[in-house]
Symmetry: C2
């Protein structure tokens, strides 16, 4: 274990080999389906990871903040979709990025934003390519695919800036079977293609038809009419994805290393130093068939310890215990995990857990020598 050589716990670990495998798998799948991939970098917020996802050279990416756009544009990514509804107060920031040479696409779902965007473009003689956001599952924002009136008005307000439609099947995260995810994917595809056809029918251009979520990208059966897929979590995978059947535990590239700091024999608990400040407060598996608490506990080498989860969390304390419905009579032998034992915790939600740290400590899953760090990659945050 060579704990003297390791950073102080808790720290964040990324298995580079798994990132390569996960991204290769998705790239191959979509290439085979004949559709482009525009990786979402909001999970990783890391240049090195985005480069792997793009096949080694900067490619088209999706971002969730203008901070991400700035960071990635500065590193040579020059085709970026900012996939959160544009508002007038952020247009000056976009302009600064565009004037540095970035091809930045925006999204909007309402006439007011569309008019403001067009007016801004006219004043500054700027092309501001914009997709209309479509809502396929009442998940958050967007125009309904058959709301032809709104589509027409937003499309006309965007004028020459209109360049297509996009959607995100967020409800696919709540699916209870692979078939349900495939159905969500088809709903996603149909919705956005329908909206695109409405726009074309009234003479508006719609070259880009963009969909995306890791579950639907994984289990979608057809991408007919779709020009690009956006997804992000697939690079790392996590317990929510495992619960959906998108991946297995052994595909999860992200984990938190923690130390055992105490025992509660009366409660059947191990105490660790990875509380919610390290794991995040995300409880995304709470509504799944298998509630994983704040994470699944593994040995330092990544072997899952059956039924052991982070069942509770304070700011800097994790409570590790057997899951409630653990095999009858099975009890946790605390003495097998003395004070200082290093454990590895798989997170519910990679986006949320990664955001709690400023760097990834890298491991390479195929090493024969046990747990060894082979480098670090920085990550950023903020807006």
């Amino acid at each position: 274990m060579r704990s003297n050589l390791l950073p102080e716990t808790p720290f964040l670990v990324l298995d580079v080999d798994l990132v390569k495998e996960n991204t290769k798998k998705m790239s191959h799948r979509l290439a085979k389906a004949g559709v482009s991939l525009r990786p979402h970098v909001k999970t990783a917020k890391c240049l090195e990871v985005a480069l792997i996802a793009s096949g080694g050279q900067p490619g088209p990416i999706t971002v969730s903040t203008l901070k991400e756009a700035e960071q990635f544009a500065g590193a040579g990514f020059n085709d970026i979709l900012y996939a959160v509804g544009m508002i007038p107060s952020k247009l000056e920031h976009c302009r600064a990025l565009i004037e540095k040479g970035l091809h930045l696409s925006l999204i909007c779902d309402n006439v007011d934003s569309a008019q403001a965007l067009s007016a801004f473009g006219t004043i500054h003689n700027l092309h501001l390519p914009c997709l209309i956001e479509i809502d396929v599952d009442s998940h958050r924002s967007g125009v309904k695919p058959n709301d032809i009136d709104t589509l027409t008005r937003v499309g006309n307000a965007l004028g020459r800036n209109l360049c297509g439609v996009m959607t995100h099947a967020g409800d696919s995260y709540n699916a209870h079977s692979v078939d349900a995810i495939s159905a969500a994917a088809e709903l996603e595809r149909l919705g956005v293609v329908t909206a695109a056809n409405h726009l074309r029918a009234i003479g508006l251009p719609c070259p880009v038809v963009s969909v995306g979520s890791t579950p639907t990208a994984t289990f979608g059966k057809s991408f007919e009419g779709v020009t690009e897929v956006r997804a992000g979590v697939y690079m790392f995978q996590d317990l929510v994805m495992a619960g959906l059947g998108v991946c297995g535990y052994s595909d999860i590239a992200l984990s938190v290393i923690t130390s055992v700091i105490g025992h509660r024999k009366d409660m059947g608990w191990l105490l660790t130093d990875a509380g919610w400040m390290a794991m995040s407060r995300d409880r995304g598996t709470a509504k799944q068939a298998l509630d994983q608490g704040y994470g699944v506990v593994c040995t330092i080498d990544g072997v899952v310890i059956a039924d052991l989860i982070v069942s509770g969390a304070n700011q800097e304390h994790g409570i590790v215990s057997l899951r409630e419905n653990s095999a009858a009579g099975k009890t946790l032998r605390l003495e097998e995990y003395p004070i200082g034992t290093l454990l590895r915790v798989l997170p519910n939600h990679a986006c949320a857990t990664a955001a709690q740290f400023d760097e990834y400590h890298l491991i390479s899953g195929r090493q024969a020598n046990g747990f060894e760090l082979v480098g670090t990659w920085p990550r950023f945050r903020g807006w």
Copy 2:
């Protein structure tokens, strides 16, 4: 509103006047009760806030990470309690801090850690003052107050490093009335005083008797036998504290400023750009009588908008709607909140929301000129 002068949303705001009032109130209360205050800086992680809480000059503080100890020691705070169970792999880090002149106290609740600590102290000829952690409510770690056997063994293992006992009545966060909090405070006091007396009865020294949580510090009726109180959230307050009756909405010093980015008339939703990345995933009010979703929505000037909460959150999207049990027939007039409208959101849990940002934008609640930023204070994170 002068939105052109403001940072891009979402951003974090701290009302300095409220911090001063909240800290003054707690300091006066505990001074009157004849007990010392050792503010917990894990909520703020900000030197300027810690100085206010300490009355203008560095005083004794509590930290939850060695990173906090480092940052505050570097700024002149030279009496620090690190209130998370010590493990051997962190002792070298402690030693480095102590050798720079810091009076650093540690805690432990088991013989193995106590022996390791003492051995390390002997080898390095170092005094490592250590409190025994006591568990009063089965909340997380600690020795039970009447577990005389363990107390004796840990106390003896600590030897000359033993300097007292400490506890945290974490269960007070789950109380349903002020009386229940007072009862939790009495349980906290009795538990730790009992443990102290057990140690003294077997001839071990126990000068420090430390308790702490914001609810119990606020509603405890007696501090007899207690030498110091630790608390942190009281500096900012939050919706969990408001739900407990510890404060009112108007005492909450921390908030997030967000922009309306869209409307969903069919759903009765405003979409904003403060999702869980800004608010954190903390749902601490979910188990309270009044579930506040991801936060209570106010006008930019801080006036609470009745029944309007952040009912859902994606990474960079907040869904704002009327609470489910809102007065019958009342509907949200979306047109009153056009695209770009700035809103202010009070957080469930100040520790978690503040941790999502790198700086506080300061406001002064008593300004007559509406919403105006008067400066920034940095905050740090990590371990």
